[in-house]
């Protein structure tokens, strides 16, 4: 059995990625139905998205605009004229028996996205960006596993049917060898950040608003490209990397044993990290694409496209470079912030008044650890950048020590409110009243005459015992440094 390293020593991978992004428009692609995620099944439907007789689609302008903006952000050419096409298939996830998509006339084409992996730049070519409508959701029941195989019936919810879906297809990416899995992951992460920056989708892979299909092939070094497979169901950034890696290993072992790769669709399984063969038999001609007769062509006005281009926000790579300089970080520091998914969080925390160092310390320290322990995204921990900034302000003002701040943060994480509320509710505050502290110090000295004598004799290390005693009586709310100074001054001769 060849390992990944064996495979990349003998074969060269070519990858390609197809990413679907559900747009965050208020309404569906061709009708006015709302698009709220998680709504009760079949409550966001109308005659158009149910394909009822006599209904006609009308294109959502916001979806066109969002797609053009994605195309522009990916350095694509925007078509001056293009049409939607019907993709015909018999499958109950679309009640019309066809999906409105784009075929040979995509809205955007021929662009690129620059992606960085450990300081190395990879330019990923973008073949096309087109717009289509999402399908309904099927739930397979009756089978042991809930998958189609063995199911006796399928239950269909059409809430998702008709939600605008942008498909972004890369050109084949050769020449990246062993970096293929990482480059694939970095591309999807960068694409997600670009789309999030544009504000056109919430791009949540776990909720399915961003979905990824990964094409992989292998060829012997210097030979023509091999037969590719398409792995579907890749629903997290981690899985993008794992699926490329496992498919390279699978294909490498087949080729090494004299076998042939079958062009097929495979399904990735999150739990095992392996894929299994799908049995999709449709080919492009089977879909009988033809121009959608119920819609008129799109002809984006050149002036409008120019305006949209001029209004694009600062894109993530440029933005990160600027922040790196402003925050005085090294490229490596920024990479770790990026890997932790903390760029925006730190930025917002800084915007709320915290210093970049403090913001970075909280998000990459306590909060990252907490998110890792719970297996959640950093941004989903329930603590807002504003709360982190408030916490740091309390530390800066001397109202909290670092240690107490961590206790307060625990309260914030537990949903007990803002830092000030947690402090009030838990009775946490720095005892800065020197009078009260002096009383506590004197009590500690009186209770430990031997220790006090040692300190008077010049043994400052013994002060730890008295500091500990004071911290105990003040329930940890005194600043240890202040206590130490007090102890030493009371016992100085």
């Amino acid at each position: 059995m060849l390992s990944f390293d064996d495979v990349v020593a003998r074969y060269e991978p070519v990858i390609g990625l197809e990413t679907h992004v559900e747009l965050g428009t208020q309404t569906k692609m061709f009708c006015g139905c709302p698009t709220v995620f998680g709504a009760e099944p079949n409550t966001q439907v109308c005659p158009v998205c149910l394909g009822l007789p006599g209904s006609l689609p009308v294109t959502n302008k916001a979806a066109i605009e969002a797609t053009v903006r994605i195309g522009l952000a990916l350095n694509c050419s925007i078509a001056s004229w293009c049409r939607f096409a019907r993709k015909n298939y018999f499958y109950p996830d679309m009640p019309k028996n066809f999906q409105i998509s784009q075929y040979d006339e995509p809205l955007c084409s021929d662009g690129y996205l620059d992606v960085e992996v450990d300081g190395e730049l990879f330019r990923i070519g973008i073949e096309r960006v087109h717009l289509e409508e999402d399908t309904g959701k099927s739930l397979h029941v009756g089978g042991a596993t809930g998958r189609i195989h063995g199911a006796t019936e399928s239950l269909v919810d059409f809430n998702r049917a008709g939600i605008p879906l942008v498909e972004i297809v890369t050109k084949p990416v050769p020449g990246i060898g062993a970096r293929a899995p990482e480059v694939a992951k970095a591309y999807v992460a960068e694409l997600r950040d670009v789309i999030r920056t544009l504000g056109v989708s919430d791009v949540k892979m776990e909720q399915g608003s961003m979905r990824c299909d990964v094409n992989t092939s292998l060829n012997k070094l210097g030979e023509t490209w091999g037969t590719r497979t398409e792995t579907k169901n890749v629903n997290s950034l981690r899985s993008v990397e794992r699926s490329v890696r496992s498919e390279m290993i699978r294909q490498g072992n087949i080729l090494e044993n004299g076998g042939h790769i079958i062009q097929e669709t495979r399904h990735f399984h999150e739990d095992t990290g392996e894929s299994t063969s799908g049995r999709s038999k449709e080919t492009a001609t089977d879909y009988r694409y033809f121009p959608e007769p119920d819609l008129v062509p799109l002809a984006p006005d050149a002036t409008w496209v120019k305006e949209l281009k001029a209004a694009l926000p600062e894109l993530p790579r440029v933005h990160r470079a600027r922040l790196t300089a402003e925050w005085g970080l090294s490229a490596l520091d920024m990479q770790s912030i990026l890997n932790a998914g903390a760029v925006e969080l730190i930025e917002q925390t800084v915007a709320q008044g915290a210093s970049p160092e403090a913001a970075r310390k909280w998000w990459l320290g306590e909060l990252s650890r907490h998110a890792n322990e719970r297996g959640i995204e950093l941004g989903d921990s329930g603590v807002t950048p504003s709360q982190v900034a408030q916490l740091q302000k309390l530390v800066d003002e001397g109202k909290l020590t670092d240690k107490l701040a961590r206790q307060v943060l625990e309260g914030v994480l537990a949903g007990e409110g803002d830092p000030a509320e947690v402090m009030a509710a838990r009775g946490i505050e720095v005892v800065s009243d020197t009078g009260a502290l002096t009383v506590a110090v004197d009590e500690a000295i009186a209770a430990n005459p031997d220790i006090a004598e040692k300190i008077r004799g010049g043994n400052q290390a013994a002060a730890g015992v008295l500091i500990g005693a004071v911290m105990k009586t003040t329930r940890g709310q005194a600043d240890a440094k202040t206590v130490r100074e007090l102890v030493l001054s009371r016992l100085s001769n």
Partner: protein, 98 residues
């Protein structure tokens, strides 16, 4: 234009139709007749005619992203052959994975 037996079988599979042994040649003959009829249109000279998918010379018919009316679930499920109260129920799909 003659439609082969294999083509009928393939189209039937795409349409999830289970044809009987007698139905295959029946549809083979019918589809061939239809296509032969359609084939006559190929005789019309169209070299100077651009492909037309729309007879109305308009572009960019767009609507604002504003929520409109939706249908009541009970009403839409009532017109379906089968449902479980919240979703449509359809027979399981053969020969294709998720």
């Amino acid at each position: 234009m003659l439609v082969t037996r294999a083509e009928v079988e393939h189209v039937a599979e795409l349409a999830r139709l289970a044809l009987t042994e007698t139905e295959i040649p029946y549809f083979q003959q019918q589809l061939s007749a239809i296509l032969t009829e359609v084939e006559k249109m190929q005789e019309v000279p169209t070299d100077d005619v651009p492909p037309t998918s729309q007879v109305i010379p308009r572009t960019n018919v767009l609507r604002a992203d504003v929520i409109g009316e939706t249908l009541e679930r009970d009403d839409i499920l009532a017109i379906a052959p089968a449902h479980d109260g919240v979703r449509y129920s359809v027979p399981r799909i053969l020969g294709e994975d998720e």
